[in-house]
Structure formats: structure tokens, C-alpha cells
Amino acid sequence: MNQSLFQTRGLWIGAIIIFSLLMIALFSLLPGMPDPTLIRVAEKLRSPSIEHWLGTDQLGRDLLGLTMRGASASLLVAIGAVTLGAGIGVPLGLMASAHENWLSQAVMRANDFIFAFPALVIAILLHDTVGAGIQNAILAIGIFNIPVFARVVYNKAQSIWTLDFIQAARLIGRRDINIALLHVLPLALGTIIVQITIQLGLGILAEAGLSYVGLGVTPPTPSWGRMLNEAQTLIGLAPRLALVPGLAIALAVLGFTLLGDALSEWVDPRKRNGG
């Protein structure tokens, strides 16, 4: 069953990208690293050189350093949001699927209700309560992740709960929560993992969008989205200021997407050749 997974090119490319991303993010946070947020107006808009591999931005900050630090911000937000979303969404979906009664219907209705609020709108609404910053980003994206995970787990678990070995477990005297943890969850794990990779990728995109409009990570913490905002007016002058963070975002998201795609084909192999 596992052989075809490790032969998928997409899996390896995705994994390498993500691993590199993680390493870059961690590396950039090491105490000995030079602080990229240091403003040195005298060195503004330098072209790439030995000292600054990617040059500097309009405030003299090292572009490479900023980009590397931005990785840690994006990853932090994405991981935080997924933890929030899955942490609440998965148990919700599991328990709602256990019994088809009015309670589970109501829960799933409320769940789908949140879909009406795109993450950006939630961020806007939260902005005045929570304030801008990394908490706002994680909360807004995380809240939007909850119904995603709940719905995905609910749909998958529904078909599992009706299987006979669940009835057999009930007859043996197991309580629903034990059945959910021992039987249903392991079988739904593949789907959950795939969704996690998808939401991580989407989380990075969302964080970039939030930072772009100023609702995400606050200065001086570097963020790819905000870098894009600042690069916008200078695009004629120094296109690399827009190219670099954009490419970073695209690569990061692509890494997660490739990984997610490869995993989802492994989890749910469709026989392409009929039966």
C-alpha cells in the first residue's frame, strides 16, 4: 500500500520545500543572526551584492534576512491557525457524526454558518477587539479553519460510524467516546492529515493577505504580505522587492499543496483502470 506514495515525485518536492522552509525559519530565529529589521536609510535600495545577497529594501533592510524572518511569521500563523481549527473542529466533527439526532444537525448548521464569514471579514471584525498582530491573524484564520475541519471529519466519519464493527464495539460495551478515539479517529486520520496540509498552505496565503492590508503581523516583525504592500509603489524601481516575497509565498504554498495532493491520492486511491 505504501510503495506508490514514496514514488510520487510531488511528495518529495513538497517535502523538500517544506523542510527547507522550516529550516530557514528556525535558522532565522537563531540568536546570533543579524537583525534584518534594522533600518539603515543610508543603504536603501542597494542591488544584490556580497554583503546583501538580495540587496536592500527602501529602508536599507537586508531583503534576504527579511524574507527568512518572514518565513517564521508565516509558519507560526499557519501552524497556530491549523492547531486552533483542528483542535476544535476534529472533536466537533467526530462527536457530531456519532449519532444522527437534532443536536448533531444543529451543530453542523452552526458550523456551516461560519463559512459565511471569510477569514478576512473575521479579521476585520476582530481587529477592533483584539487589535492587529499575530493573535488576530491566528484567531481569524483559526476560527475559519474550525468549520473546515469539522465538516471534513464529519463527512468522513459518518460513513465509518455506520460500519458493522462499530455496532460490534457498542455491543461489547464500549462507550461512544472510546469508539471515537480507538476506531473512528484512526480511520479518519488520513483525511485529517491531508486537510491539515491544505489548510497550512491556505493559512500562509491568508496570513499574507492579512498582513498586506495591515491586519496581520505588526511592524517591525517582518511579514511577506506587508513586504509586498511596501513594494507595491516601488515596483517600477525595484521589482525584486515584490518578486522575492511573492515567490517565497508561492513556493511555500506550493510545497504544502504538492504534499497534500500526494497524500490525498495515497489516502484515497482511485483505481484509474476500472476494476
Partner: protein
């Protein structure tokens, strides 16, 4: 059948009600005194009191909630304290930009995405299929505002074919359209990618089903079986995804309008957030949310009409 429609309608209204209550309370919790915000920190206490009374801030919460809902229903979204103009008027001015933008993007996304997905499914596992998959993966990984910037760089700054931003009204139609092209493309690109993937996946899933084999056994050619049977069934799942995507499209306009300096609803919200103009933020957000809920309702209804299994 009628009962099902009415049930959906009731659901729609209930969701709208809950959404508005939620928005109200969210804005309720925010720290700080709106009156003080308007008058500044060194306003005199009695002026503050007078303004608070005028804004109705000294009423009990329940009364204010009911007032809020009542105002929503009558289309009174309050008064913008930045422009001193009713919020509804402001929104009305911005809609002629945002609405056409959203519609053009939707059209582009559908016209490119769905046929792309169909093509990929028809030529499954060939180079064409792989090309479509790779292109969609890349398009999905790109933030749409970055794509927007790249488009501006290439088509506006370098080639001078299209404007880099701004919108001068509908009186000059060719100008208006050319101002909306790049934004629409930037908005439509990721949507088209998603539609292509979903269409392809749904189509392939249906093509592997027994009823397609049965259609072939009745003598239909492979493409007849695809277009007459697999496609309509696949469209049902695609339709529900389209409904979900619409809310992302709307949220996307907020960012895109900023990139292109378009005087639309999205830019209004963005500026209002920065200016702490609560009335505008709440009113415009409610509009976005209401249209999302409305679209979901329409999608549900369409599914009900198309799929006989839902009519039990």
C-alpha cells in the same frame, strides 16, 4: 417540493438574523467609547454625554440590538463619521465598481476553469492533463494580490496596454472596462484554478462509476457518455463549490481594489478599518455576509431543482 424551498428560506432568514446579532455583539465588545473617538480626547464631558445620547449609546443593549436589526431591515446602515454621509449612500456609490468586477471575475473563472477541468478529465493522464494540473497548482499557490502586482508590472508599466489602477466612472465604457480587466483577471485566476481542479475531480469520479459503463453498454460513445451523463452529475458537486468560492471572491475584492486603487466596496471597508469608522465597517461587512448567505441559498435551491434525489 415547496415545503423544502420554504425550509431553506427559513434557514436563510435565521442565518441572516444570527449573523447580524453576531456582528452587533462583536462591535459591541470593542474597547473605547465611539463618542470619544469622534470628538477627540479633550472633549468636554457634557458634549460627550450629548453625543452619546444622540448616538443612542446610553440605551440598554437589547433596545440597541433591536434598533440595529430594525435599521438593517429598512436599509439604514447608520452614518459614516468620516464622510458624514449615510453608509447606505456610500455603499451605493461603490457598488457600480465592485459588482461588475465580481461578476466579470466570476464569468472569467467559469469560462476558463470549467472547460479546463473537462478537458483535463477527457485526456486523463496525458500531457494535457498533467499540464492543467501543474498550472492550477501554481495558480493556487500565488497570492492574488501578488499576481495583480505582476500583471500591473507587465501590462501597465512595461507594455502600457492597460491602466495601473484607478477608475473614472462608467461614462466612458471602454475606459471603464479596461480599468477592470487586470483586477478581474487577478481575482479570477485562483478561482479558475479551483474550478478546474474540482471539475476534473468530480468528472473523473463520475466517469469511473458503473452508470457510465452502463451508458456505454447502451451503445453511447465515450464522449456522449461523458457529456450526457457524467458532466451533469459532476456539475452538482461543482455547483456547491462555486457557492463557497463566491465568499472568497468577495473577500478578494477587498485586497484587489486596494492594489488597483479602485473606488469600490472593498476599498471602502479597508479605509474604514483604518479610520475606525464603525458604521461603515459593520454595514459593509453585513452586506458581504448577507450576499454570501444569499448565494449559498441560490446554490442550494439550484441543487434542489437539478437533483431529484434531494426531493424525497
Amino acid at each position: 417540493m415547496l415545503i423544502l424551498i420554504i425550509r431553506r428560506l427559513v434557514g436563510l432568514l435565521a442565518t441572516l438574523a444570527v449573523a447580524s446579532i453576531l456582528v452587533f455583539f462583536l462591535l459591541e465588545i470593542l474597547p473605547g467609547d465611539p463618542a470619544q473617538l469622534i470628538l477627540g480626547t479633550d472633549a468636554r464631558p457634557d458634549t460627550l454625554l450629548a453625543l452619546r445620547h444622540e448616538m443612542g449609546l446610553d440605551q440598554p443593549i437589547l433596545t440597541r440590538l433591536l434598533q440595529w436589526i430594525g435599521e438593517l431591515l429598512t436599509g439604514n446602515l447608520g452614518m459614516s463619521h468620516t464622510y458624514h454621509v449615510p453608509v447606505a449612500t456610500l455603499i451605493g456609490e461603490r457598488l457600480p465598481v465592485s459588482l461588475p468586477l465580481a461578476l466579470i471575475s466570476l464569468l472569467l473563472a467559469v469560462v476558463i476553469g470549467i472547460p479546463g477541468g473537462i478537458l483535463a478529465a477527457m485526456r486523463r493522464d496525458t500531457w494535457l492533463d498533467r499540464a492543467v494540473r501543474v498550472k492550477t497548482q501554481i495558480l493556487l499557490a500565488i497570492p492574488n494580490f501578488w499576481l495583480a502586482m505582476l500583471l500591473v508590472f507587465v501590462f501597465a508599466i512595461t507594455l502600457h496596454w492597460l491602466p495601473a489602477g484607478g477608475f473614472s466612472g462608467w461614462r466612458n465604457i471602454p475606459n471603464a472596462i479596461s480599468a477592470l480587466i487586470l483586477p478581474a483577471v487577478a481575482l479570477a485566476a485562483p478561482q479558475a484554478a479551483i474550478l478546474a481542479r474540482v471539475t476534473r475531480a468530480a468528472l473523473i469520479e463520475n466517469l469511473d462509476d458503473v452508470y457510465i459503463l452502463a451508458a456505454r453498454a447502451r451503445g453511447l460513445t465515450a464522449s456522449a457518455a461523458l457529456f450526457r451523463h457524467a458532466l451533469p452529475n459532476a456539475m452538482i458537486s461543482v455547483l456547491s463549490i462555486m457557492g463557497l468560492q463566491f465568499s472568497f471572491l468577495l473577500a478578494g475584492t477587498i485586497i484587489i481594489e486596494n492594489v488597483f486603487y479602485l473606488p469600490g466596496l472593498g476599498r471602502l471597508i479597508f479605509q474604514a478599518v483604518n479610520q475606525r469608522d464603525l458604521a461603515v465597517v459593520s454595514g459593509a461587512s453585513m452586506l458581504l455576509i448577507a450576499s454570501t448567505i444569499g448565494i449559498t441559498f441560490v446554490v442550494d435551491l439550484t441543487a434542489l431543482i437539478i437533483d431529484p434525489r434531494l426531493r424525497r
